[in-house]
Symmetry: C2
Subunit: 350 residues, 2 copies
């Protein structure tokens, strides 16, 4: 989407791009309303407005994290969140969660606690309202920040290239993921639609913001088409994911669920090329993360695990984020997790 | 290699790490001396000193680019370059090239012209002196900068993860690639060995330096183990390269050389998974780059090429860096290049 598009044409082309993305991801045709994760910021406002203009059924879900002084007023009965919902003629489900207290009680950072609370609220609301999908406002700038975050953390390929546009297992879809922030604001300006400004995006208290303000501008200075470059990389990662999914399907069919995790015979691992084994470990850990809410694995630990497999060192244990343990023993690889506290599921993606 | 290692132990462990790398890459045992690309900076000084301490046969090759006022004195008969060679008791081959004039006459940037002149000089000297390998001083910080440069440019995976440790087809080996700059300086300090400071590394006139000074410190602030994370990513890319090389070998066997380039029947392409086809295009372009000195392809152009293949649009042409053209017509994909000016070969890597 070009920034030189006149506003009248943007009012049509922007929702059309959103519909194109929903079609490509298999979200359309709908058999139930979409639940829009609505913060009131530019991204989710543009997403809701697009669905409204496309005539698609949807409702809003808004979580007050209790972190900003102005948040209570935003979600109050006469506040901007409910006013926007009324303007579009859609339902709006609002809840309040004391994220700071949750972070303190569970020993989490504020960002992480907010993310967990938000996804739990969204899934709860989706199920209760009978919605088919949760639509998230993540856009191309978020995607690039996500890539940088993953690069910093040492995430391997293809996960390195950032969040997915669609995750049917979690009912998540991100229809704006290929649209830069500037285009979203241009659409809202063309529509004469205001949005809420979240001041916490401006501070450098969070790593995401530090990368947004400290790194991204330099990359964009060096390559004004950096959005396009990053999106091509992201698209390549999606192709690779498809490839490895098909390539590993016969091996993954040998995985058995145990009470505390997953297990796989070593004999199924050994014939694979090393690149495939490294992927397989990552996929097993992703499955553990989905079941137990553990975090992303570092590539270096996967290499160490593979080295131990070849070296016949038994028994051998490896620790992964979220308390997951991989153990090589008795002719099989077993991944186990400590019992997860309630509400920590689905913690593997932003 | 840890930074807390005492200096006496570093004097042994550092050369040992260099030897380990040379063994891993199949460079040892040697049947001819190594040619060290010697700038006089910390990296190539540490490399030469390590080979000296390992008792391996080597000689130095030094190119005066004519860009810095102090360069002539550095390579003069009593200057530090020849003095260092004499101290180690090895031959030193010195040439002068007017890189600024070369850049102007060929319409290149100074960095690019310097790189072309340097690699041409090294290969010429290697062949003339009967050396088996050219050893380059690139280290882990260079590798990370290379990753960022490739990220900015939109390079696809696995090339995204940076330069190779070894390229037998070009007789290149980079034994320091997994060692951070700080460890190299610690080794030199422990050895009481001084090195030349290249002031052009401090300016922000070059993109590499801007990323080094403007982006890398932030990434290291966010993750003090970022070197390790980046090296794991790089190792994963090398595994993927091996995997794709084996996976694509049967298809690459169908490639035929034409006078102006390469050609491949469409029938050999169509049965491949899309991820494999995208790799195959990248490999064909890499072969063209090696033959004709063209540059790295953008991932987005490869996607467009693949879309055209599936859509049966014929004839269809795509432009790649360095004037390479990919053409879909007559049931085959053909890559052609305009005649290359002399001395532009091997321009695809730093």
């Amino acid at each position: 989407m070009s920034r030189s598009v006149p506003s009248s044409s943007l009012l049509r082309s922007f929702p059309r791009a959103v519909r194109g993305q929903l079609l490509a991801e298999g979200v359309l045709p709908l058999n139930a309303p979409i639940l829009v994760a609505f913060s009131g910021g530019a991204d989710s406002t543009a997403l809701a407005l697009s669905l409204h203009r496309l005539g698609l059924p949807f409702m809003l879900a808004h979580l007050n994290h209790g972190l900003r002084p102005e948040a209570a007023a935003e979600s109050a009965p006469e506040g901007p969140v409910r006013t926007f919902a009324a303007q579009l003629g859609v339902a709006c489900h609002i809840e309040h969660e004391d994220v700071a207290a949750m972070a303190a009680s569970r020993g989490l950072g504020l960002e992480e606690a907010g993310r967990l609370a938000r996804y739990a609220f969204l899934e709860r609301t989706r199920a209760a309202q009978g919605c088919a999908w949760i639509a998230l406002g993540h856009q191309a700038d978020d995607l690039i920040e996500d890539m940088l975050l993953r690069l910093v953390r040492g995430t391997g390929w293809p996960a390195l290239a950032g969040m997915r546009a669609c995750d049917p297992s979690r009912h998540l879809v991100r229809p704006l993921l290929q649209i830069p922030r500037a285009d979203i604001e241009a659409f809202l300006n063309a529509a004469g639609q205001s949005w809420l400004h979240d001041a916490s995006n401006d501070t450098n208290a969070f790593r995401r913001n530090r990368l947004r303000h400290g790194v991204l501008p330099t990359l964009l200075d060096e390559n004004p088409s950096f959005h396009q470059a990053a999106l091509a990389l992201w698209a390549q990662a999606r192709e690779d994911e498809r490839f490895w999914e098909a390539f590993l399907a016969p091996t993954l069919a040998c995985v058995c669920q145990t009470q505390a995790g997953l297990a796989l015979p070593e004999a199924a691992l050994r014939p694979l090329p090393r690149a495939a084994r490294l992927r397989l470990y990552a996929e097993l850990l992703r499955r553990m993360a989905r079941r137990f809410g553990s975090g992303q694995a570092r590539a270096s630990t996967l290499f160490n695990l593979d080295r131990a497999l070849l070296r016949q060192e038994r028994p051998k244990r490896f620790q992964f984020p979220g308390g997951v343990v991989a153990c090589l023993a008795d002719g099989r690889l077993e991944l186990t997790s400590p019992p997860a506290p309630a509400g920590t599921q689905n913690a593997s993606e932003p």
